[in-house]
């Protein structure tokens, strides 16, 4: 009756059906009664209303029965939920990193992937890490949702039970491209997973470049690519030293990108708006990026110039 996409589907759907059933029972019962009353006691037929005295017993009954019902519904819901917070100790751990508007998955050994590939029937614990704002780790088919909160270590876990591709969506509103922040969860047989993991390259790290580390850790790369692609903001590639069209207070003019311009772009992004982009999307990083780090970012941007 229930799908087996994950070990939680059963509990959730069972609770859903039970509560829905009780709800429908009352909805149908009460609506029918209402319609019957309207027809039967219509003024045309029933000219004089009968005045009826309150009955304490009746009041008590229809308080007590719903009370018992709700306690029951609560219990069913709790029972279906509790396993979601009891991750087995030996579960494989994968880190899911959410940043505006991209998921990255980090496996043991510093290996990174954009797709969450997992072996079937093995418990996996997902550590949820956010680089900027709150995101939501939502896999509808698995009946899983848990918020990815910056500064907090949240987690979720599950045992995939069916092979195939599943959608991972971001459920917590996180800005312009919230609705595009999705990824694929691919459930494969264990051997296939192991092979895949073995060839997964180790995270590329421009470790020697200070500027890159800042730009990476502060989440700039969610909007600015380094390879010339236009994501949400203009690409960083070839930016430094180029001449671009910007709009300042409604008047457009040309500027050459230099240290000063980059600094204003970071601390007061709404001042000069690059043509073709909307104001208000990039936030100010005042207080988040230190002024002394700007120089490092500049160095990094310069390094992207002649490629």
């Amino acid at each position: 009756m229930f799908s087996n996409a994950s070990n939680f589907v059963h509990g959730v759907d069972k609770a859903f059906l039970i509560i829905l059933g009780i709800s429908l029972f009352f909805l149908i019962l009460l609506t029918t009664l209402m319609i019957v009353f309207i027809i039967k006691y219509n003024r045309k037929k029933n000219v004089k209303a009968v005045q009826i005295k309150d009955s304490g017993w009746l009041e008590f009954t229809w308080t007590a029965i719903p009370m018992l019902l709700v306690l029951f519904m609560f219990y069913v819901g709790w029972e279906g939920f509790l396993p979601m917070r009891q991750a087995p100790k030996d579960a494989m751990v994968v880190k899911a990193i959410g940043r505006m508007w991209k998921w990255t998955f980090e496996y043991a050994g510093n290996k990174q992937s954009d797709t969450l590939v997992l072996p079937i029937s093995k418990a996996v614990k997902i550590d949820l890490v956010s680089k900027d704002v709150i995101h939501g780790f939502f896999v509808p088919a698995f009946r899983i949702k848990e918020d990815v909160v910056p500064g907090k270590n949240n987690y979720t876990w599950f045992i995939p039970g069916e092979m195939g591709d599943f959608d991972l969506l971001c459920s917590a509103y996180c800005g312009v491209s919230h609705s595009y922040m999705s990824a694929i969860i691919r459930i494969v047989p264990e051997e296939k997973f192991n092979k895949w993991l073995a060839v997964l390259p180790v995270k590329q790290q421009d470790d020697n470049n200070e500027g890159y580390k800042i730009v990476e850790s502060k989440g700039c790369l969610g909007c600015h690519s380094v390879d010339g692609k236009k994501i949400v903001g203009p690409t960083f590639k070839g930016l430094y030293g180029s001449t671009i069209d910007v709009t300042t207070d409604g008047t457009s003019h040309k500027v050459t990108v230099d240290d000063q311009y980059i600094q204003t772009s970071i601390f007061d992004p709404n001042k000069d708006i690059v043509d073709g982009f909307a104001p208000g999307i990039m936030k100010s990083y005042t207080g988040i990026i230190k002024e002394k780090d700007i120089a490092k970012i500049n160095d990094f941007l310069k390094s992207l110039k002649e490629k």
Partner: protein, 537 residues
């Protein structure tokens, strides 16, 4: 019950009364509670119109996957301002500021509220806040794009007009507090001689419970928004983890107010329904005490369940079951009310006039909205439907289907009293039918979409959701045509309708004992109350 006695006396209705000022000023500087009520009505109708247009724009955008008529950033601004307008400017003040202001004093036999000038001041504060909120759409940095929930740290980070929008919400909250305060003092101090708490009509009871929530919960959102503003202005880090704060704490504070606030929306609506049903059944209310006390119970317990909006935020397990349990418990008093309403209809003499039609459909839609609330309140199912279109459907059912339909019921019920004119019944019924069909088409598919995993606040969606979204959008346009017909009918009624007698529905409460429209003093002499307000013998 006869009204000929009052008809004989020469009187000037509050609509024609000549005060200190003339023309427009006689309205916007009026301290008469009835005029202020109408001021609120016009303001709220306007905002409702603006908010609704934004809602329709969203439906247009969602009619097909991908970019249809606007950019994502615009969409985000639109649902935010739609939410802010609808919640803070339409439904929270809605019933209590319009019908509470107009009928609370009359129903308890008073000449006015306790502080008439404060009442006018609240309206001005309300207008000021609303102007700020609407202006935030148009200022330089672009409309706020945080959602009406202003969740940190996104709200502390985004470059848009968040400060303006939060200031607006703060100001609107202030107005709400003052209104609540005014009503509380009115109910405590101004009841007609002989009117005990337990022979007060049930609409004032509902307003009473509501006013306590407004008074005690609103300051919490006030301080929270102040902290948010301070965080943005001075970099005081309360909520942004980069500055040391805790974003989850923001959610706690936000919902400590905003959950009780949903009862600010629904309690007066329930009060209205409780007035309408006995009148059109010509029967005393069944379970008077149970209904009165369940309002208080909802208000009380409603303070303690806020965490059900945060099940997936990483709260402790203990908090999750605690909030879930209480959420279920708070549903029981609502159920009691529904049962009592139905019992009042039993063996009544039912007259299916437009107000009653709206009241019955309120009950139907409220049951759907309320029981889907149970699905949200259960921790297991919440995990699946949290932050999806299911939530959107839940609250539109319970806010629009509940509070909105109650508002329409109230206006059809009391319009003859407020303006002394009657509208066309046939047209009203047709409009009702269109609205009812359109409404269900618009929101019902969203339950299904939500359960299948369509997140809310999504500018774009996966192709498999398109059928549902299209039905929903079509429903939206049917709904609008119905609403336009309804408004047209009401406006025509007020302008050209037939004069209405003092008691067109043969109601038993005090407002029907005085002429329509009431005079500026409401009562020629203070009424003395000795019996239950719903006595039809």
């Amino acid at each position: 019950m006869t009204h000929n006695t009052v008809d004989k006396i020469e009187y000037v209705s509050f609509l024609e009364h000549k005060g200190k000022y003339k023309g427009l000023f006689s309205w916007i500087f009026a301290t008469d509670h009835k005029r202020i009520a109408l001021l609120y009505l016009y303001a709220i109708a306007t905002f409702f119109f603006v908010g609704a247009i934004l809602g329709l724009l969203m439906r247009l955008e969602l009619i097909a996957p991908g970019e249809t008529i606007m950019k994502p950033q615009t969409y985000n601004g639109i649902f935010t301002v739609h939410g802010i307008i609808m919640i803070f400017m339409v439904v929270i003040p809605g019933l209590s500021a319009v019908f509470g202001n107009f009928f609370l004093p009359i129903l308890i036999g008073a000449k006015d509220v306790a502080f008439p000038k404060l009442n006018l001041f609240s309206w001005w504060v309300f207008i000021f806040g609303s102007v700020l909120a609407v202006a935030s759409q148009f200022m330089k940095d672009g409309p706020p794009d945080t959602g009406w929930t202003f969740y940190a740290p996104y709200s502390t980070a985004t470059g848009t007009n968040v400060i303006m929008a939060t200031t607006a919400a703060f100001v609107l909250g202030f107005s709400s507090i003052l209104t609540g305060l005014n009503f509380l003092v009115t109910i405590h101090q101004m009841r007609a001689p002989g009117m005990k708490f337990f022979n007060m009509p049930l609409f004032p009871w509902a307003i009473y419970a509501t006013a306590w929530i407004q008074l005690l919960a609103t300051p919490i959102i006030g301080i929270t928004l102040l902290m948010l503003i301070a965080e943005r202005l001075f970099g005081i880090g309360f909520f942004d983890p980069n500055l040391g704060g805790d974003p989850i704490l923001f959610q706690h504070l936000f919902w400590i107010y905003s959950h009780p606030a949903v009862y600010v929306m629904i309690l007066p609506a329930m009060g209205v329904i409780t007035e309408i049903i006995p009148t059109f059944c010509q029967r005393r209310v069944y379970g008077y005490k149970a209904i009165a006390l369940s309002s208080v119970a909802i208000a009380g317990v409603g303070f303690l369940v806020w965490g059900h909006h945060m099940y997936t935020s990483g709260m402790s397990n203990q908090a999750r079951w605690f909030f879930s349990l209480l959420t279920f418990v708070v549903a029981v008093p609502s159920a009691i009310k529904v049962f009592n309403w139905l019992s009042t209809m039993y063996k009544g003499s039912i007259d299916l006039k437009p107000p009653f039609l709206y009241a019955v459909s309120f009950i139907f839609l409220f049951i759907i909205g309320g029981t889907t609330g149970l699905l949200l309140g259960s921790v297991a199912t919440n995990v699946q439907v949290h932050d999806t279109a299911f939530i959107v459907a839940h609250f539109h059912y319970i806010i629009f289907g509940g509070m909105g339909f109650a508002f329409f019921a109230a206006i059809h019920y009391w319009l003859p009293k407020m303006y002394g004119k009657m509208y066309n019944f046939k047209r009203a019924n047709i409009a009702w039918a269109i609205i009812f069909v359109g409404f269900n088409l618009l929101y019902f598919p969203q339950f299904i979409l939500g359960f299948q995993g369509m997140p809310r606040r999504y500018f774009d969606y996966l192709p498999q959701f398109q059928t549902g979204e299209v039905i929903s959008s079509i429903g939206g346009f049917i709904l609008v045509s119905g609403l336009i017909l309804m408004v047209y009918n009401l406006v025509m009624g007020v302008r050209k309708g037939e004069p209405s007698p003092a008691n067109p529905w043969n109601g038993s409460t005090l407002e029907w004992q005085i002429p329509s429209p009431p005079s500026i003093e409401n009562f020629d002499e203070a009424p003395v109350i000795k019996k239950n307000p719903y006595d039809y013998n």
